[in-house]
């Protein structure tokens, strides 16, 4: 490994410790200030350990389901759109995905709730629409930036188009695709706070209850925990990203 790689890795490692430390510090601050205060009955109910854990659990479940759905949708679609003969469809589909991200999620959410009623699946659908673009775009870009000479060499050795895709193109696109998935994940952690409006729970409902009952500490706890969660998820995603990157590239 060259010195430059080592330096790059060292800074990468150093940065990777910053996020979890900040997240942990935020969580500590939240719980310390909760414990230091006299809580009234509404605050005590909303900020009890089980309540907070349940909200975090709902939040993570929403993020996990929608991110998996995004990957299952966007990766195959991106692969399909990067095949010769399908390239012309790429621009219109990207435009649709762009629109999905441009439309405010709260709008989609409310629209879905009015049309189909409330529930976790409405939240998942709006999260998927919102986070589709980065994964789709990065899949297409990741496949597009693969050196044509490698594909030529692969076909020249007698690999079928599918074997070239699986053995050469996809592994080489993995770093770019992972970056897109990481962006989608972080977007979902943020946007999932809106899921409370379709009755799907999550840390957003903590914030909403705080607003409804006019309890500022509850609003703050919900917001800060969301930030801490986003930082932790981003850090975890970064660790996975480094681990999943193929060696040699």
């Amino acid at each position: 490994m060259s010195t430059r790689d080592e330096v790059a890795n060292a800074t990468g490692e150093a940065k990777s410790w910053v996020l979890p430390v900040i997240a942990a510090a935020l969580v500590v601050i939240v719980f310390a200030s909760i414990n230091a205060r006299e809580l009234d009955s509404i605050e005590a109910r909303l900020l009890s350990g089980e309540e907070i854990l349940a909200r975090v659990g709902e939040h993570l479940r929403l993020v996990a389901i929608s991110t998996v759905a995004v990957i299952l949708l966007a990766v195959p679609l991106g692969v399909l759109l990067s095949r010769p003969g399908m390239r012309l469809l790429g621009a219109p589909v990207l435009a649709v995905a762009n629109a999905g991200q441009a439309i405010p999620s709260i709008g989609i959410l409310v629209l879905l709730a009015i049309l189909f009623g409330v529930g976790i699946w409405m939240a998942v659908i709006s999260l998927v629409l919102y986070a589709l673009l980065p994964v789709l775009r990065n899949t297409m870009v990741g496949l597009k930036q693969v050196d044509r000479a490698l594909i030529d060499a692969g076909r020249g050795m007698g690999m079928s188009a599918r074997q070239v895709l699986v053995t050469i193109e996809l592994p080489l696109a993995v770093p770019v695709m992972l970056a897109g998935i990481r962006v989608a994940l972080i977007l979902n952690v943020g946007v999932a706070t809106l899921a409370t409006y379709t009755n799907a729970g999550g840390l957003g409902s903590l914030i909403e209850s705080g607003i409804v009952f006019n309890r500022m500490p509850v609003v703050l706890a919900g917001s800060i925990l969301t930030v801490a969660l986003a930082l932790s998820v981003d850090w975890l995603a970064g660790v996975c990203e480094r681990g999943l990157r193929p060696r040699g590239i």
Partner: protein
């Protein structure tokens, strides 16, 4: 088995919406174990012709025969597994080790693992890379020259009778290129593959090829002959131009002194040269015309000087 390994019969290529053929109808026969070099300027269709042999480019018409079998309509993926293919960019897969790269085609062919490992080691050895030291490395940890050796090893993996090489040494520095060419010639003397090799470098073509196919503008095959034949009797002015200056000296590189016979004595006219010509170019022209003396033209006829070849050699000698 016939003596002819590759036969092209009126093979041509025309792209949609383009006037004229990218490759004009071409017929040629390449014998088993022969090293044939396609040479010509960019855009002359030499690479397209090469790529039609393994159907990386589908011919618009004509037939291709390999080892007595018409392969114009067989499954191209199947065909290519039995034809070695080396390209200028090498195309080693960056996330696979050197050993895995070399073992790719055998793996496609479904060989057993230990057979692939043995073959990989044998091939790395053959191209001068220690399998223990290099097998586990990734391509980016290798120099350009080492990468192309691996490229050659990979193309040889399934022991294909035919190798197609598209400017394999084109992106390599001149010193390494010369060494690779030499090593590759030595390798070819041992393995006796039928090789089709594309280059735009005339010197490389003449050094490597048993026969050289010179392609011209409009993608036509202008001359297909041995290097000595081409240097001795260029088909036309195009070939003469393409060979450039120094063809007579280069031709000497292909002759051994033992091959020479004593010439008939003949009166040769002296060559007229001007005082600004380099000694090198004068010797080249003397060699071409068989002249044994030169007249160096002065300001006027009285200033002309005459030098014999012997005097020229002594005056130009480094001692």
């Amino acid at each position: 088995m016939s003596d002819v390994m590759i036969r092209l019969d009126e093979v041509h290529k025309r792209y949609d919406g383009q006037a004229g053929d990218a490759v004009a109808p071409l017929s040629m026969e390449i014998r088993e174990g022969e090293f044939v070099v396609f040479v010509g300027p960019s855009g002359c269709g030499k690479t397209t012709t090469l790529r039609m042999i393994n159907r990386m480019v589908e011919p618009s018409g004509g037939r291709i025969w390999i080892d007595g079998r018409d392969v114009t309509d067989v499954d191209p993926d199947e065909l290519r597994k039995h034809i070695g293919y080396v390209i200028q960019q090498v195309g080693l897969i960056p996330h696979l080790t050197v050993a895995a790269n070399v073992g790719l085609v055998p793996k496609l062919l479904g060989w057993q693992r230990d057979r692939i490992e043995a073959r990989t080691a044998e091939l790395l050895d053959l191209v001068g890379l220690d399998p223990a030291a290099f097998g586990g490395r990734y391509p980016k940890q290798l120099s350009g020259g080492q990468q192309q050796r691996v490229g050659v090893a990979r193309a040889l993996a399934a022991d294909p009778p035919v190798m197609l090489m598209d400017e394999p040494f084109g992106a390599i520095d001149p010193i390494t290129r010369a060494r690779l060419q030499e090593e590759f010639l030595a390798l070819q003397r041992r393995i006796r593959k039928t090789i089709v090799f594309v280059t735009h470098d005339v010197d490389e073509a003449l050094r490597l090829g048993d026969r050289v196919a010179v392609f011209g503008e409009g993608s036509r095959l202008v001359q297909f002959d041995t290097p000595l034949g081409i240097l001795t009797n260029p088909a036309d002015d195009y070939v003469r131009d393409f060979l450039g200056s120094g063809a007579a000296v280069r031709r000497l590189g292909l002759l051994n002194v033992g091959d020479l016979r004593k010439p008939e004595p003949a009166d040769r006219l002296p060559l007229r040269v001007s005082s600004g010509d380099s000694v090198h170019s004068v010797l080249e022209r003397m060699l071409r015309d068989g002249a044994d003396r030169v007249i160096i033209e002065g300001e006027s006829t009285e200033d002309d000087r005459e030098l014999t070849l012997r005097e020229l050699l002594m005056a130009g000698s480094a001692r």
